[in-house]
Structures are given as structure tokens and as C-alpha cells.
């Protein structure tokens, strides 16, 4: 195996690792068959217990970065480590118990019941030939209850609306009992009410001690749920820090390449852009 950067085991390093669940050092990534890297010079860490948002315009490399964190993609350069251990050194099943993913959308061709689907999240706790038993069903039910979807247990997943599906996918990830939850554009298919429902769910998980890493292109979503925001543009991280420091007029304008303004209205942060409304007095 190639010697990876950052495999030093000094005391200071170990102490830092305890506070950082995931670290990326000098990461560069290009998709197979393309010369131009999608991500360049990524030095980034997810603090244990944080809700970290990767915020940036479409095509800025947010989802690619999330896939690198998951271990699904492997960087050409640099290292991705979970608590100081390179991802590909961690047994697959242990990874499944530590980290889980809620994809942006999922194509579900068969009429599984919601409970059967959420039960799939118990896979990392079962060997290849084992069948889930009552304790696993109970864990799946409790995951469903956590997102407030216990009453849908027997519904077919093909009948769920986009918002319901997002909550059920989140429940499936929670059945893995992860320490780090990855969400890929969790609100992009959701209306206002469902967005609020999902943000509440994220806040509750963070209170329960789950570290959350999510991608979003909407600064309001990042503002509403994140404790830390990394701003991404054209495959680089422009700025990475506490939400209040990231979401400023200058930094957001630079991130999106247009003029935006950040206003503080009581305890909410509002981003305005474009021409003023014509009917405004």
C-alpha cells in the first residue's frame, strides 16, 4: 500500500484526532478518464459533534467531496482518515456502523414496505448470511420513530411523497446507528414544511451526539442547521469556519460569483440577491 500523507502518530496528532472525526489532507481527485481534477488542494476536517455544511454552487464538487468522505471514491492524492485511520484500512462492516449516507434521491424499483426498507440499515450488524431478527426490527422501528415516521411502517415505499421519502431514507441511515451521518442535498426536493421537518430532525440528531456532514447549495439551509460551513467553488474550499464567519456578504458573493447580501433579522440570517422586488415600497 502507498504510504499516505499524515500517517504520523504524535501525541498532538492523536489529541487532534479525538476532536476531529474525519480529516482530509491534501486531497486531489479527478474522475476516471478526465484530466482536469474536480477537487484540488482540499484540507478539511469535520469536528466531532458538529453539523458541518458543504455550501457552494452546482458543480462546485460538494457531492464528490462527500463521496470521498464516504470512501466510495478514492483520492488520487492526499489522505482521508476517520479518527486517524485511512478509510480503506477500516473493515467495511465497521465503516457501516460508523458512517451512513442519505443520498439525494434513491430509485426504489420494488414495493418494499417502509419498515423492510429501514431494516436494510441493519446490514452492518449482520453477517452475509444472517437474517435480521426481532432486535433488528425493533432498532428499525425506533429509527423510524426518531424521524417521526413510525405510522408509515407498513406503507409501500413507492407511495411516499418526496418529503416522506427523504425522512424514510434518513431513518434507514439512522438504523445503522452511525456516529457520522452524511446527507447529500437533503432538502433539494423538499417544500418549505418538509425542509423545516428535516432541519428539526438534523438538530435533534446533533443534540443526540451524531456528527452531521451535509451538502447544500442553499445558504439558508446551511444557516439554519450548521455550526460550521465550508464554502466551495470550482473544486476548492474557499473558506472553512464557524457559520457566522462563513456566511458573510463578501464570502458568499465570492462563493457564488454574484452579488449577494447577508442581512441579520433578529436571530435569522437572510441572503438577498438580484434586483429588488418591483412591488416593494
Amino acid at each position: 500500500m502507498r504510504k499516505r500523507a499524515g500517517e504520523r502518530e504524535s501525541d498532538a496528532q492523536l489529541q487532534q484526532d479525538a476532536r476531529r472525526i474525519l480529516t482530509l489532507a491534501g486531497v486531489e481527485f479527478a474522475y476516471e478518464g478526465t484530466a482536469e481534477p474536480v477537487l484540488r488542494g482540499i484540507d478539511f476536517a469535520v469536528r466531532t459533534g458538529s453539523v458541518t455544511a458543504l455550501l457552494g454552487p452546482n458543480g462546485s464538487g460538494k457531492t464528490t467531496l462527500l463521496n470521498l468522505c464516504l470512501g466510495w471514491l478514492k483520492p488520487q492524492r492526499g489522505a482521508v482518515q476517520l479518527r486517524g485511520t485511512a478509510l480503506d484500512r477500516i473493515p467495511r462492516r465497521q465503516m457501516g456502523r460508523t458512517m451512513s449516507l442519505v443520498p439525494q434521491d434513491e430509485h426504489l424499483p420494488f414495493e418494499y414496505s417502509v419498515l423492510e426498507y429501514v431494516l436494510l440499515g441493519r446490514a452492518p450488524y449482520l453477517t452475509t448470511l444472517q437474517l435480521p431478527d426481532e432486535t433488528h426490527v425493533a432498532a428499525a422501528r425506533s429509527a423510524l420513530a426518531t424521524v417521526g415516521a413510525a405510522q408509515w411502517a407498513q406503507r409501500s415505499i413507492t407511495t411516499l411523497s418526496a418529503g416522506e421519502k427523504q425522512l424514510v431514507m434518513t431513518a434507514r441511515s439512522l438504523a445503522q446507528e452511525p456516529q457520522l451521518l452524511l446527507l447529500d442535498e437533503p432538502t433539494s426536493h423538499l417544500d418549505l414544511a418538509n425542509t423545516v421537518r428535516l432541519l428539526d430532525c438534523i438538530a435533534m440528531l446533533a443534540d443526540a451526539g451524531v456528527t452531521v456532514l451535509l451538502t447544500t447549495h442553499d445558504p439558508h439551509v446551511a444557516s439554519a442547521c450548521a455550526t460550521e460551513v465550508a464554502l466551495m467553488r470550482e473544486g476548492r474550499i474557499l473558506f472553512d469556519g464557524p457559520t457566522a464567519e462563513s456566511l458573510t456578504t463578501e464570502r458568499l458573493s465570492a462563493t457564488y460569483g454574484i452579488d449577494v447580501e447577508v442581512h441579520q433579522i433578529e436571530r435569522h440570517r437572510v441572503v438577498t440577491y438580484g434586483k429588488p422586488s418591483t412591488d416593494a415600497s
Partner: protein, 319 residues
């Protein structure tokens, strides 16, 4: 369902054209030595072969549909069946009609057919995944069919041609204990793998990235299940010829009657599949003095049943 399957098998065992068309009274077994010979020498291995063929095709169909997240995948629609037929025909002409050689060749070309369809589908630049895989499967199957056509053209008309023609029709009339002996060691382990991984198969019906995030190694587990399904299909095809539509219709019926979860759909499809093929085979050898090839009956019922299913209000296939 188990009881129903056993009942169908028992009935098929007693149905036939000896001593007259229709049911044979079980009491005849006690005092007619010819009845015993017909039943235990000819009919029993044949019914058992029908059980295995049905279970193999339906089980493979169910699992392949899950693995490709595509409810229209059927061994006959993605190049597996045609590949097996081509491999069998090639083995008959080039090597020998030894069942072992025929089975190996059928399995290899069946796997190649599936791999080819998959590669081609990945390369198509338009349409959803369901459509692309079906289009690729049609093309690959057609290439194999014309290959079989060429092989038939060059085949020895006295000896090899009838053996090849047998594939295209599909039937179990030549199956005895010996042929059953070739079917058992390939089909039973394959089915055991499919059954053992019946819950795991659900995970592989998810997108690869999600299956990966659930702590699986999707590539490796998928390959194992595909190998088992392809081997079972190829073995069944090398004994029974092309028995169409079982692998498409039975999984759909099973998912409607029971659940989509593999813990139910995989074992139940094995039972329903074997009942269906045993029933068609019994019908085929009883109805007319000359036998109706099995493949014709399964296609007739299978295609008609699938057409009815498509018209059902709750039925839909996305993309």
C-alpha cells in the same frame, strides 16, 4: 404455498397418458409392474427435473431483477437464455453432446451474454436504466440467435440438428435419472446460495453507493449472486432447452402475492416457479397424443399472464 407445491408435484406424478389419458389411480402402482416402471423410471425424474428447472428459472429471474434494480430483467431478455442455447449448440457441434461439456459451454456463453448486455447497456447514452438494459439484451439475444441459426445451418442434419432444434423448443421428454444427476449438482448449490442470501439481495437492489455505505462490498456480493443465478439458468437451459417467460412472470406474481422483500420473494418464487413448470410439463405430455414442447406452453401462459399483469391498475414500472 409449500403444501400447494407438493400437491401440484404429486398430481403431476399421477397425471399422464398411461394407462389412459388423465389421472392414474394410485392403487394401480401396487399391482401393475408397468405402471411402476412408467412412474418411477420415467415420470418421477421428469417431474423432479421440472421442479428444479422451474425453481432455477424463477429464482434466477427474481434475483437478477433485484440485482439490476430492474423489474423487466429476465434470463431470456438479457441474453442469458440465448447465450446458453448458443453455447449448447456450439458444444454439440464442435465437441460432443456430453451433458457436462454442454452445460459448461452453456454456462460460459450465458454469463458472456449477461456481461455483454450489461456493458452495452452502460454504454447507451439515452433512456433510463430499465429501457437500456432491455434494448441491450434484445441486441445481444439477436446476435446469439443468429449464431444459433448459423450453427444449425452447418450442423449434421441426421444427428446434430435434431439435438439443437430441441433447445429452441424446450422440453423435458429426454430427461431420465441420468440427466437429473447432471442437473442436481449445479442447480442445488446455486439455489442454496440464492436462498442463503435472500435478505442480502435486498441491499444489492439499492444503488451501489448506498449498498456500499451500508458496509457491503457490492461488487463482490453482486458477482456471487449473478454467478449463482446464471449457473442455475444455464444448467436448467442445458437440460430443458429454452423455457421462456418463467423468469419474468413468476417474480412479478410472487411479489404481488407475497412481499418484495427477498426473504419472501426468493423462496416463494422457487415454489411458484417449480409448480408452474411442473404444471406446464404435465399438461404438455397429457393433453395430446404427441407431446407439446414445454417451452411453448410456458411462453403461452407466461406471455399471456404478463400481458394481463401489465393491464392491472396497480402495476407500474418506473423509467
Amino acid at each position: 404455498m409449500v403444501a400447494l407445491t407438493v400437491a401440484v408435484i404429486a398430481a403431476a406424478f399421477l397425471i399422464g397418458r398411461y394407462p389412459q389419458p388423465g389421472f392414474m389411480p394410485p392403487a394401480l402402482l401396487l399391482d401393475d409392474p408397468l405402471a411402476r416402471r412408467v412412474l418411477f423410471g420415467l415420470r418421477l425424474p421428469r417431474v423432479l427435473a421440472a421442479v428444479l428447472v422451474g425453481a432455477a428459472l424463477a429464482g434466477a429471474g427474481t434475483v437478477l431483477q433485484m440485482l439490476f434494480a430492474n423489474p423487466l430483467v429476465e434470463p431470456g431478455l438479457v441474453g442469458v437464455t440465448q447465450g446458453a442455447a448458443f453455447g449448447a449448440a456450439l458444444a454439440i457441434i464442435a465437441f460432443s453432446a456430453q451433458p457436462v461439456v454442454v452445460q459448461i459451454s452453456a454456462a460460459l456463453f450465458a454469463a458472456a451474454g449477461l456481461a455483454l448486455s450489461y456493458r452495452l447497456a452502460r454504454g447507451i447514452r439515452f433512456g433510463g436504466w430499465v429501457l437500456r438494459l432491455i434494448l441491450a439484451g434484445i441486441a445481444v439475444s439477436a446476435v446469439y440467435s443468429s449464431g444459433v441459426g448459423i450453427l444449425k445451418y452447418v450442423a449434421d442434419p441426421m444427428d446434430q440438428l435434431p439435438a439443437i432444434t430441441f433447445w429452441m423448443l424446450g422440453g423435458l421428454w429426454s430427461v431420465g435419472w441420468r440427466e437429473l444427476g447432471f442437473l442436481l449438482p449445479t442447480v442445488l448449490p446455486s439455489l442454496a446460495i440464492l436462498l442463503a442470501m435472500r435478505w442480502r439481495a435486498n441491499l444489492l437492489s439499492l444503488h451501489d453507493r448506498v449498498a456500499f455505505s451500508l458496509g457491503t462490498v457490492p461488487g463482490r456480493e453482486r458477482l456471487l449472486l449473478i454467478a449463482a443465478a446464471t449457473l442455475a439458468t444455464a444448467a436448467a437451459t442445458s437440460i430443458a432447452g429454452i423455457v421462456g417467460w418463467v423468469g419474468l412472470l413468476i417474480p412479478h406474481i410472487t411479489r404481488r402475492l407475497f412481499r418484495a422483500d427477498g426473504r419472501w420473494s426468493i423462496p416463494m418464487s422457487l415454489l411458484i416457479g417449480s409448480s408452474f413448470v411442473v404444471f406446464c410439463d404435465a399438461l404438455g405430455r397429457t393433453l395430446l397424443p404427441g407431446e407439446i414442447p414445454l417451452g411453448i406452453l410456458t411462453s403461452l401462459f407466461g406471455a399471456a399472464g404478463f400481458a394481463l399483469l401489465l393491464l392491472r391498475p396497480g402495476f407500474r414500472i418506473e423509467r
